[in-house]
């Protein structure tokens, strides 16, 4: 039912995109033109693309350990922040525009490296010793770690937001099927789809992926079958870190700024997405992120006609309302199994 509602929402937006004249005439009911709707959709898709990468980090960890890695937003932020210093240096000495490919690889490598390091440290220090504790305890350490990392970043990098350089080749827009689409948005969407596809293949078909699924099903039996559970868990955190690192660089380049609170909002939105889609499921996280991204950009816009004051402040409220309703009817999320609710 909810899914149907979301489909309706997207369809309405799509219809508006194609049927509305490019310029609104006088007395037009909707304030938006087709172009505006189009840009809402693309904005939603690209936000969803970044959210998907972060959401996968939450989802993988939850699938295996049955815990919320509350500090995952900070993993994302730390990677992005570390890469800022490299990117800033590259942008100062024009390396970013003279050889963008190498520069991007270095920037991504730094972001991924730091994110993976933070994720693994988190697992090693905060979660591994508490694996058998009641579920409130790891939640507490996770919240503690989140506070700690966020404010450490504030200490190291200062409280002000920094401008993140955008490479020249991502500036401007490409013309795609008569749409003008900002290059950075397209890159984000494509990179995200590719990474999700790789991850889906990895988890379903490789040896490590199979052992990840085995540990998710039953860690004790997996151990008996000769799977090194600790190593699988570390691998999971590392994969989450890689995805968060890539997401961090893309997010920072899209919005061209970064601060120590950058991890907070996307972190919560991504977690919402993971739960919405069905936590523990890769496709679920991707679908959930797509829906959350679209909801956040289209939801307020669709409400504009209904005389609700300042709808654009309501994007979080709309998202959470949808989340609550989905959880009421499908406690395991859209693509999640019913077993997911047994905690």
């Amino acid at each position: 039912m909810i899914l149907a509602g979301l489909v309706v929402l997207v369809v309405v937006a799509a219809i508006k995109t194609f049927t509305l004249p490019a310029e609104a005439g006088p007395g037009e009911l909707s304030r938006y033109t087709a172009d505006t709707w189009r840009s809402f959709i693309i904005g939603g898709l690209s936000e969803g693309a970044v959210l998907a990468l972060i959401a996968l980090g939450y989802s993988l960890v939850y699938g295996i350990l049955r815990m919320i890695n509350f500090a995952h937003g900070e993993v994302f932020m730390m990677g992005a922040f570390a890469s800022y210093f490299v990117a800033d240096r590259f942008s100062d000495n024009d390396f970013l525009s003279s050889s963008p490919a190498i520069a991007m690889i270095v920037i991504l490598a730094v972001a991924i490296g730091v994110s993976v390091l933070v994720a693994i440290l988190l697992e090693r220090v905060c979660y591994r010793p508490l694996r058998n504790a009641p579920r409130l305890v790891p939640l507490i350490t996770a919240i503690g770690a989140s506070l700690f990392l966020q404010n450490t970043a504030r200490g190291f990098f200062g409280p002000q937001a920094r401008g993140y350089p955008q490479p020249d080749f991502l500036d401007g827009s490409w013309n795609l099927l008569s749409f003008d689409i900002a290059r950075i948005d397209l890159v984000m969407i494509v990179v995200s789809i590719v990474l999700v596809a790789i991850l889906d293949y990895f988890v379903s078909s490789t040896r490590t992926g199979r052992s990840m699924r085995a540990v998710a099903l039953d860690a004790d039996i997996a151990k008996l079958m000769g799977i090194d559970v600790d190593r699988v868990i570390v691998t999971t955190f590392a994969i989450g870190g890689v995805l968060a690192g890539v997401a961090g660089v893309m997010f920072a380049m899209r919005f061209e700024q970064i601060s120590f609170t950058t991890g907070f909002r996307p972190g919560i939105a991504a977690f919402t997405a993971a739960v919405l889609g069905g936590i523990g499921s890769i496709r679920g996280a991707a679908l959930g992120a797509l829906l959350v991204g679209l909801l956040r950009s289209l939801g307020p816009a669709l409400l504009v006609g209904f005389n609700i004051p300042s709808v654009f402040q309501l994007e979080d409220a709309i998202t959470f309302l949808v989340l609550v309703f989905v959880l009421l009817y499908r406690p395991g999320g859209l693509l999640g199994s019913a077993a997911a609710e047994k905690l």
Binding site: I68, A145, T272
Partner: protein, 443 residues
């Protein structure tokens, strides 16, 4: 029966406690630390030493029978010391410190509510910051716009918070465990934004928040003379007067929560936490109890918010965001989840730790400031410290401070409970209006 072996251990423990209390009061009052931190460390070492010695002996230092004369004497002495501290605290500290004690009291009432949910019913809620906001904003708005007196607003706040708690609690029936933590966290995340929406912000004051105007604020009233306020300066008068008001509300809340969890309904809620299926099989209606617990805990949180409005005479949307929800959890964990005293002790500790954090600079702790650090030389430590404290508690004292205190007490003092005689049990079973045997015998 009373047995006192090696009384010097008990003496050491008691002396350490007194020294600890004194050094804390001095640390709070004085800007310069002097030798008091060392005394505090010495006192903690003394307590630890006494505990360890007693533990090595394998037997508590003091053994008394419950209800015996000696036991009653010790108990009276204990309560006497407690009462002395309650009465003397506002007069010993300067007005700024009294305000902090007051702060810890509004916190404590909210944490009592959080404890009902997280500790006693096992539902993880991070949304109680929003309920506090409901209490604070309702009181400010009712006082300012509708001409209520502050105490009258309670009659609106309590039923309304209960209903809001019920509404938020209904999803809690389907949404379990960590999902509930997320949904309620989302509530406290969205709450400040909701208050700033155009239209609503006329009442809530938007980003700036609202104040209770000076003539409507709580002022020391008729009881001034009785409380010994005459002759003190204005801020001290105000804070001490508020201290007594808040202490009254906190005390009543504490007793209410204590009675709730000891009641039949409270035991049913704990049973749901321990084993949901077992409780359902034993005839506990899960739905009703869960939702009502949520409502009640929301009431306590909103009364905490009301106390906030009483203390600061203002309410700002940004105060009641996710960070408040996290600090409520931090206070609860510091004090001890699933303990009654935990809420009070934890709030007190949290408020003073947070204050200590803002007074201590990195340079004064580490002796140096890394050159790559962006924080200015004299600025306080960031909330990273609070995060660290949360992690350390989870590792080293998962039961909180109250749990440690109980352990220390158990190794020093043992109270042998009196066994109820057969006819007492029988008459209790007959007298009980709910004459189900399992109720009469288990508690």
């Amino acid at each position: 029966m009373i047995k006192l072996q090696r009384p010097w251990i008990l003496g050491l423990g008691a002396a350490s406690l007194v020294a600890l209390g004194l050094s804390i009061i001095h640390l709070l009052n004085k800007e310069k630390a002097g030798f008091w931190p060392f005394l505090a460390i010495l006192a903690i070492a003394g307590l630890a030493g006494a505990t360890l010695t007693a533990q090595r002996a394998g037997e508590p230092v003091l053994i008394v029978n419950e209800g015996s004369r000696a036991h009653r004497t010790w108990q009276t002495a204990g309560w006497g010391i407690f009462a002395f501290f309650v009465v003397a605290t506002p007069y010993l500290l300067d007005s700024f410190r009294v305000q902090q004690v007051n702060k810890s009291m509004y916190f404590a009432v909210a944490v009592l509510g959080v404890n009902l949910i997280i500790g006693y019913s096992g539902l993880i809620s991070l949304g109680h910051g929003a309920f506090m906001g409901v209490g604070a904003f309702l009181s400010v708005i009712l006082v300012e716009d509708y001409g209520f007196k502050l105490w009258q607003t309670l009659f609106v706040i309590i039923p309304l918070a209960f209903v809001i708690g019920l509404i938020v609690g209904i999803p809690a029936l389907r949404i379990k465990g960590l999902y509930l933590a997320l949904v309620t966290f989302a509530l406290s995340y969205a709450f400040p934004t909701l208050l700033k929406i155009e239209g609503i912000d006329k009442r809530t004051g938007g980003d700036l928040g609202r104040n209770i105007s000076l003539d409507k604020q709580v002022q020391p009233g008729r009881l001034k003379g009785l409380l010994g306020l005459n002759g003190l300066d204005a801020p001290a008068q105000e804070q001490i007067y508020k201290y007594w008001l808040m202490a009254l509300v906190t005390g009543i809340s504490f007793l209410l929560v204590r009675n709730i969890i000891k009641s039949r309904a409270g035991r049913a809620v704990i049973a749901i936490k321990e084993n949901q299926i077992g409780a359902a099989v034993s005839g506990v209606p899960l739905t009703t109890y869960k939702v009502i617990t949520f409502g009640i805990s929301a009431v306590f949180a909103s009364v905490g918010g009301w106390l906030y409005a009483l203390l600061f005479s203002e309410a700002n949307p940004n105060t009641f965001g996710p960070l408040l929800a996290i600090s409520l959890l931090l206070a609860l964990v510091l004090g001890g989840v699933y303990t009654l005293q935990g809420a009070l002790v934890g709030s007190l500790l949290y408020v003073f730790l947070d204050d200590l954090r803002t007074r201590v600079t990195l340079t004064s702790v580490a002796g140096w400031r890394p050159s790559f650090f962006q924080i200015a030389e004299g600025s306080p430590l960031t909330q990273a410290v609070l995060g660290l404290v949360l992690i350390l508690i989870a590792f080293f004292a998962p039961g909180g401070v109250v749990f440690i205190a109980r352990k220390v007490r158990a190794s020093l003092i043992r109270v042998i409970p009196t066994i109820p005689t057969a006819d007492v049990v029988a008459s209790a079973a007959v007298d009980s209006p709910m004459s189900e045997p399992e109720v009469a015998t288990t508690h």
